[in-house]
Symmetry: C2
Subunit: 430 residues, 2 copies
Amino acid sequence: MEAGERPRAAVIVTGSELLTGSITDRNGPWLARELGELGFEVAHVLLVGDRPDDLDAALRFAVNSGCVLVVTSGGLGPTADDLTAQVVASFAGVELVLDEDLRKHIAGILRGWAVRTGFGGPALDEANRKQAMVPRGATALPPVGTAPGLVVPRPGGPLVVVMPGPPRELRGMWPAALEAPPFRELLAGVPAATSLSLRFFGLPESEIASTLREFDSEMDLSGVEVTTCLRRSELEVDLRPKPGAAVFAAELHGALAARHAKHLVSDDGTTTDELLARALLERGWTVATGESCTGGMLASRLVDRPGSSAYVAGGVVAYSNTAKTQLLGVPAEMIEEHGAVSPEVARALADGARERFGADVGVGITGVAGPDGGTEAKPVGYVCFCVTTGGGLVLARDPRLPGGRSDVRERSTDLGMHLLLRAAAPRRAE
Amino acid sequence: MEAGERPRAAVIVTGSELLTGSITDRNGPWLARELGELGFEVAHVLLVGDRPDDLDAALRFAVNSGCVLVVTSGGLGPTADDLTAQVVASFAGVELVLDEDLRKHIAGILRGWAVRTGFGGPALDEANRKQAMVPRGATALPPVGTAPGLVVPRPGGPLVVVMPGPPRELRGMWPAALEAPPFRELLAGVPAATSLSLRFFGLPESEIASTLREFDSEMDLSGVEVTTCLRRSELEVDLRPKPGAAVFAAELHGALAARHAKHLVSDDGTTTDELLARALLERGWTVATGESCTGGMLASRLVDRPGSSAYVAGGVVAYSNTAKTQLLGVPAEMIEEHGAVSPEVARALADGARERFGADVGVGITGVAGPDGGTEAKPVGYVCFCVTTGGGLVLARDPRLPGGRSDVRERSTDLGMHLLLRAAAPRRAE
């Protein structure tokens, strides 16, 4: 099989605060996904501080990596350390010029802001002028906040697309960037991308690796870039065909799904959360939670999806034994006999939640999240789960989950979601 | 004031899955923070795919950026695309050799895992051998999972520290990396860092910028790198002195805290969550939650801290009106008259939670998280909060919060935490 290569793109995210570890970048992953879907191969995502030399070096690194496109985010604000426009202009070999229309446009936005907040004066005028300076020959993109974006062609490439740092502004401006003539022209030459994905639960990464090695001995896999990503208990496998390899990628996708059908959650990118929501809606079921160690994390995850009020009745965070007894009717003797962390109590939490909220399905979770409270019989990570329905279905598990307190709580939430999914949408094989 | 420069370090995070946007890197920010605290200036954080050429280019980019240290994460797994050890060996100009002790050590770990999961066989043996290959002259760091880390000196620099990708393994292995002789030697020459921080609530970033401009006209601020970071409703200000500027940084830190005392949450890096936990423990109070739109997110955040069972009684996720009425005693007529999203219902949720759980302080949250359900009077983002205590204290708010569904829910959780903190630890000025 022959497969071409995709044109490469780089993402540069600026902001010294990203290098102190006090904040996690959200723009890099978002832009990387967008660029991948447009058909680019993302060469790298580079986070640099607000230092002109470092930004310049980052732009040159993208050139050396063979990128035809660089998207930057950040450094467009009104303060002195916001230097992106200037560095990009110099990188493109042009000077900054005042865009009078843009200045007036920003002035209008700032006036409204000044009236609302009571701030204003010469500092604002200076910010206005600074933000309206545009590299000669660049396309300015109208501000979503107050900072305009820029599309800056450089002789010999790459095309530089300059976006603001606040994620809301960046995402809001992205459609306009795609419509800018130089970007549109570049995109016309990019082969379409069709990424395929598989989601497994409870399958070790080494099993996929071993299957791929086996397939590799029978056929040429080089036309498809396969990446696996373990997200706690779920394994995501992403297949990205190079140009010309779409049909083969679809075959490989089907073969992997068939080989590991027992652990397959979805083969079209659908998340567990979405599958569960659809299954509950289809059945017309409502769900109620009785949580101890997860402390509301499962309820919060269920509520995360818009429209969840149609199937989430509610939940109780029964962290203390009194709460378990008084709010969810877990018998005090049961707690005394079996312990608060026990399969019996998990089931009583599920039944109690279901009954108190008048729900169709209930889930109970109680476990030792740590770091303290573990015993030899019930060590840190030991968590009891139960899902029960009004129809008499009972699904119970009591694994020992690895990791620290937050790992155990997050994995417990995952497992709770998967047990609910199994109750609401039983797989054919079962 | 004179201030030197800090030695530079770079972080390289490998993993093609980071460039498809399907996962957000957690290792880069964590390592950046650690390196900053050790006294390095972090030049950049670079995310690259599992392609040997790109990783090699990333290592060379760090050399060109003047870095004396590079920390990599990822690419140590058993699959064919895990190539970090090999690329780093070639970068350092040495060959890979099998470390027999390490192989046995990993084999022992894998045996236990194979017994527990039922997976095993030749795939496992191959993984074992691959993971025990070490660049000649490097220090191997014992695995936390199954992958060992590496400390690899390169003639002429930089020192390369190779860490595994899973965040839990990376963090668990970090102390051993710091103890490896070549890293210890390097650290001996790094001037100590004393980063100072300030945490504000409800203070716009532009106010700090304006204060800094004012200070800048009176004194030379160049010895201190000040970064501000807006995390939803909280503003974190980080002051990082260059060598020799520690005293001045402390003065600036004090001046900023004094100027914005009204919005100050902490001046020593203590988080809101920690302050609240301390205040509740000091008073011997327990807290109960009655949540609608946040759906358990506040309860989960309270439970997140180890030892929280001492002060978290529990909570109810009262997502439906029936749940509000039946589980927390919110009068049905009140919901009919004022609506489920109203200051009245927020108070009834707080009182109901406090009473049902026998807690000392209760918090009620009800709001329109969106995207649907907004009206002109109660638009998306309108959220009602109330905190009440047995002693008769009532704190109520009903702001309109910006952003989409998850923004509104997260900001609501923040505001709930701050209202609880205000109830448990009233500030002197109030």
